[in-house]
């Protein structure tokens, strides 16, 4: 359950990010405008901390108010360039990795559904590599980051339009046990 609650939070934040990206609004962050996630499952979305999340207060990885709660970097179509608006997110995780020298992470790349499955799997991994590069340039050692990909197999949004695709072109930072 804990995990599910966390997942909802991540998705809600992700949806907020992607709505900015799609509409090309100014990158002023206002979380109150977060749109509900359109992912399948039908459960009501909420960013309220659940009791179980409360009990984990103090862990910046699970604190929804921590910059580390944001785990997804979004990409343009056919691109693996990490956009400036996500530099802060990646740098926050880099600082955490610098502090916690035992922590190893996985960065999982994802694509929208367009194109060939296997080629999309490779494109997703290249997106993950791009995020990893930002972190290694800032000093995290290569061996602590594994880059993998789900290609188009794990869409965050199930639709067949740009609104969904924008949420699916992403790299997710995953900590151990996630």
């Amino acid at each position: 359950m804990k995990k599910a609650a966390l997942y909802l939070i991540v998705v809600a934040v992700a949806a907020a990010c992607s709505s900015q990206e799609v509409k090309h609004e100014p990158t002023v962050s206002d979380r109150s405008t977060a749109v509900p996630p359109t992912t399948a499952g039908g459960s009501s979305s909420t960013t309220r901390p659940t009791p179980s999340a409360d009990s984990m207060r103090g862990n910046p990885l699970t604190d929804p108010n921590s910059p580390l709660a944001k785990r997804s970097v979004y990409f343009e179509f056919d691109s693996n360039a990490v956009k400036d608006e996500f530099r802060g997110l990646v740098q926050a995780h880099t600082r955490y990795m610098t502090d916690k020298r035992d922590t190893r992470i996985r960065i999982e790349g994802n694509c929208d559904e367009r194109g060939s499955r296997e080629y999309n799997l490779a494109l997703g991994q290249r997106r993950a590599e791009a995020v990893k590069k930002v972190m290694t340039v800032l000093g995290v050692s290569d061996g602590r980051i594994e880059t993998t990909s789900y290609g188009e197999e794990k869409p965050a949004a199930a639709g067949h339009d740009e609104g969904s695709w924008a949420q699916n072109r992403r790299a997710d930072i995953k900590y151990p046990g996630e």
Partner: protein, 423 residues
């Protein structure tokens, strides 16, 4: 015999089989051979009508027109009972007759004859003694004989296909007869399953599993149900392709950075790197003679189809039209590649004739993927997105005949057509 044991093994492995595929065909142009397939005497008392399956097999190819056989009594079972003048009047050019008889406890004999109506001559005659449960498979074998006698090409009605069915978050790898019947689930998971690939001897499937939360390459023995992880290196492991002798797998790995192509013994062993590019190299496919590997690479700036010697070496670019040509698959004669081409935001199956460089777009979908040749080279099975769902479709090598294989349940994706059965 070996084949039926293998089939039995698959049956025993079956987890469940709900998704039956139904097939609609469309054809444009081209002459269809009018053929009459008479109901076989004794057919009606059996669990499976042999003549119905034969007619459906032949009709589905788009190469035949099934002639009405209504009102012919008694059912002819011997050449002397055939009224050729009547069949000429019905404009049939070929005629199939036969009978089905119980010959002993649990055994049935199926006899059939194929005639050329104009010449009033017999083209083929065979007899099979089988268990009643094998009647459907026997009908496919008869259809194979008829198809080969009338077209000169091997029939593929006794082959199998594999594909992934996705329902909600549930994935199943299924194996079915080429007509979509007898679908069996050989693997089920709550994580994605991708890129199933038949070993050329038909005994094993290689595929990509995400059961460990990242892509790894697994080989599954269909008769025994045993699995072996053949590639689980750091990063991605994907795109398995078999060498023609079934001994080696070409795979795409990211263990040294971006996706590159490696070869691994199918029985397990170390990965040997075959490509050395600074971009993405993936989707390898061995040529049928084992000399070449065709693959996708974006080393030139956009993803294009290349080929290199199977042991690695200098690569030669094969596609030049457009900015997205990926996922090559060789035809069984090695003369043609089928691949996915993007054109104006649409993804279609195209073919490349290697000798001339001629490219032909074969499909008109919006998101077509995963082409796979029938083992006689005549049809290409692929995945199409229809109404937001993955569905299987097939197109003839010349683009004239199209089949859509519709499943009632879920997304059907990533098909691969199996090899000819070994007898």
């Amino acid at each position: 015999m070996k084949r039926s044991f293998l089939f039995l093994g698959v049956l025993l492995l079956a987890l469940c089989a709900r998704a039956q595929l139904t097939i609609d065909i469309t054809t444009s142009g081209g002459r269809q051979v009018p053929i009459a397939v008479m109901p076989m005497a004794g057919d009606a008392s059996q669990p499976q009508s042999v003549s119905d399956v034969i007619a459906a097999d032949l009709g589905r190819t788009g190469l035949f027109r099934i002639v009405n056989t209504g009102g012919v009594t008694p059912l002819p079972t011997e050449p002397s009972e055939v009224n050729f003048a009547d069949w000429t009047a019905r404009s049939a050019e070929a005629l199939v007759i036969g009978k089905v008889e119980n010959v002993s406890e649990g055994r049935v004999e199926v006899r059939f004859r194929l005639f050329d109506v104009q010449k009033q001559g017999q083209l083929a005659s065979y007899s099979y003694v089988v268990a009643p449960a094998q009647l459907r498979a026997t009908a496919h074998r008869i259809a194979d004989v008829i198809y080969e006698r009338l077209t000169g090409d091997k029939g593929v009605f006794s082959t199998k296909i594999t594909y992934v069915v996705k329902r909600g978050r549930r994935y199943e790898l299924q194996v079915a007869d080429a007509d979509g019947f007898n679908a069996q689930s050989v693997l089920a998971s709550n994580e994605p399953i991708m890129s199933p690939s038949w070993s050329p001897d038909g005994s094993r499937l290689a595929y990509v599993s995400f059961d460990v939360k990242k892509p790894i390459v697994v080989v599954q023995n269909l008769a025994q149900g045993t699995t072996r992880v053949v590639a689980n290196y750091r990063g991605n492991n994907s795109a398995p392709a078999w060498s023609p002798d079934s001994r080696v797998l070409a795979v795409a790995l990211t263990k040294d950075g971006l996706t590159q192509i490696y070869r691994i013994p199918a029985a397990g062993g170390d990965a040997e790197r075959l490509t050395e590019s600074s971009g993405i190299d993936t989707q390898p496919a061995f040529s049928p003679d084992g000399q070449w590997i065709a693959f996708t690479s974006d080393r030139g700036g956009s993803p294009q189809v290349y080929r290199m010697p199977a042991a690695g070496g200098p690569a030669q670019r094969l596609t030049f039209e457009g900015t997205y040509n990926v996922g090559p698959r060789f035809s069984p004669d090695g003369k043609t590649l089928a691949f996915v081409q993007r054109d104006g935001g649409r993804y279609r199956i195209a073919s490349l004739e290697l000798a001339t460089g001629q490219v032909t777009v074969l499909t008109d979908g919006i998101l077509d993927d995963s082409p796979s040749f029938a083992p006689n080279g005549k049809m290409i099975l692929y995945e199409a997105q229809v109404g937001g769902r993955g569905q299987l479709a097939a197109v003839s090598g010349d683009g004239r005949v199209r089949q859509r294989l519709t499943s009632a349940a879920g997304d059907v994706q990533d098909p691969a057509w199996g090899p000819m059965p070994t007898n």
